[in-house]
Amino acid sequence: MLRRILEIYTKSTMRNRKKIQFVAVLWIGLMLAGCMSIEQMAPPVGPQFYNIAIKRDTTMALLESGREVYLVDCSRCHSVEPIQRYSMNKWHEIIPRMAQKSKLSIAKSAALRAYIVAVSDLSDIPADLN
């Protein structure tokens, strides 16, 4: 299969080769630009969350569970996005809608909300990015 595609490329006109090269470079560029690690998009629950857990009257186990929900349940239907992309007001709209769509249990929804609130505290995400 790869040999066939290479054959098509080598037999193409110069104009078509430039088109193929442009598309390939664009895709590679987008891929590199999009490559944030999971740790950057959804920070692991570590010692930095301890004080936040106390302040928010929650547990590290619940935050860890919330992170699991964010990475596993949310990614069934769409790509995982950096939590910092949205303001807390926006998250308060998104969570109930997505929880209903993905049929999250009450416990999972609560864990997800607790985790996102904790990450927002850690990252200093404002209530409204506007």
Partner: protein
């Protein structure tokens, strides 16, 4: 000139799809769907437990070197259900086909089969190094029995998703199911999520038909093309036009698949 003729035919044939899609959307009340990024490539994730979804598929194949008037439409209607968070069951209620330019005396449209599929997700494509799922399908029709198995591999990298399927199909058809054929297929899809509503990517399909299971002596046909996926609150749609990039004359030069999905309130 030939390419222009094909483009004109494609536009004329695509318009009914667009109209059909719009009609389906109009009647999609009380629904919001579970989305698919690809139409020819399966993903390693499954529907959440308790989730019901209705999917409409339409596939158009056209323009063989050996028959420029070739036009075939295949339609499938599937209901999917998330049995557990890692296992999904699908029932294809009815698969039917419409083919223009059939020999005189033969119906242009006919019912083909119904089918049952199961997808078992073993590894998550986001949290594990590689997402893995197993797929099995049984298809039963008029003098037709088919078994299909796939291994699905997927990796999610931020807004990018890459999925790869390897498929083996065994088919028995004809009187007494005496015609015994196989098919090997591999498919690759890459998709980029530009926004929560819009995704685009490419899909590549490589098929080798094995008549009478005569090894890999069947002709290998390769298709390549872009794919586009749109997600609305109440429905989703994914479209993939594929162009043949190999030189197999008795296989279609062009095919296109449209999938539209709606969540059913269960």
């Amino acid at each position: 000139m030939e390419d222009l003729e094909i483009d004109t035919v494609i536009i004329k044939k695509v318009l009914p799809y667009v109209i059909l899609g719009c009609v389906q959307v109009m009647f999609a009340s009380h629904a919001h769907g579970g989305e698919r990024r690809f139409t020819y490539v399966y993903e390693a994730t499954t529907s959440p437990k308790g989730h019901w979804e209705l999917e409409h598929w339409a596939t158009w194949k056209t323009a063989k070197e050996t028959n420029r008037d070739y036009d075939r439409f295949d339609f499938r209607y599937e209901i999917e259900y998330g049995v557990t968070d890692n296992f999904q069951l699908g029932i294809y209620l009815s698969d039917w086909r419409y083919e223009e330019n059939r020999p005189k005396g033969k119906n242009r449209g006919d019912w083909r089969d119904f089918a049952i599929e199961g997808i078992l997700s073993l590894r998550n494509p986001t949290t594990d190094p590689l997402g893995i799922a197993l797929y099995g399908e049984v298809k039963i029709g008029d003098e037709l029995f088919e078994l299909e198995g796939k291994v699905i591999v997927q990796k999610n990298m931020g807004p990018f998703v890459a999925a790869y399927n390897v498929t083996l199909e065994a088919e028995w058809e004809g009187p007494d199911y005496s015609e015994d054929n196989g098919k090997f297929e591999q498919a690759l899809g890459v998709s980029y999520q530009f926004s929560p509503r819009f995704l685009a990517g490419i899909e590549l399909v490589h098929e080798i038909a094995m008549p009478d299971w005569r090894g890999m002596r069947g002709k290998a046909v390769v298709y390549l093309g872009p794919n586009f996926s749109y997600r609305a609150p109440s429905w989703w749609a994914t479209l993939t036009p594929l162009f043949q990039v190999s030189d197999v004359e008795d296989e279609p030069d062009f095919q296109m698949r449209l999938m539209v999905g709606f969540e059913l309130k269960g």
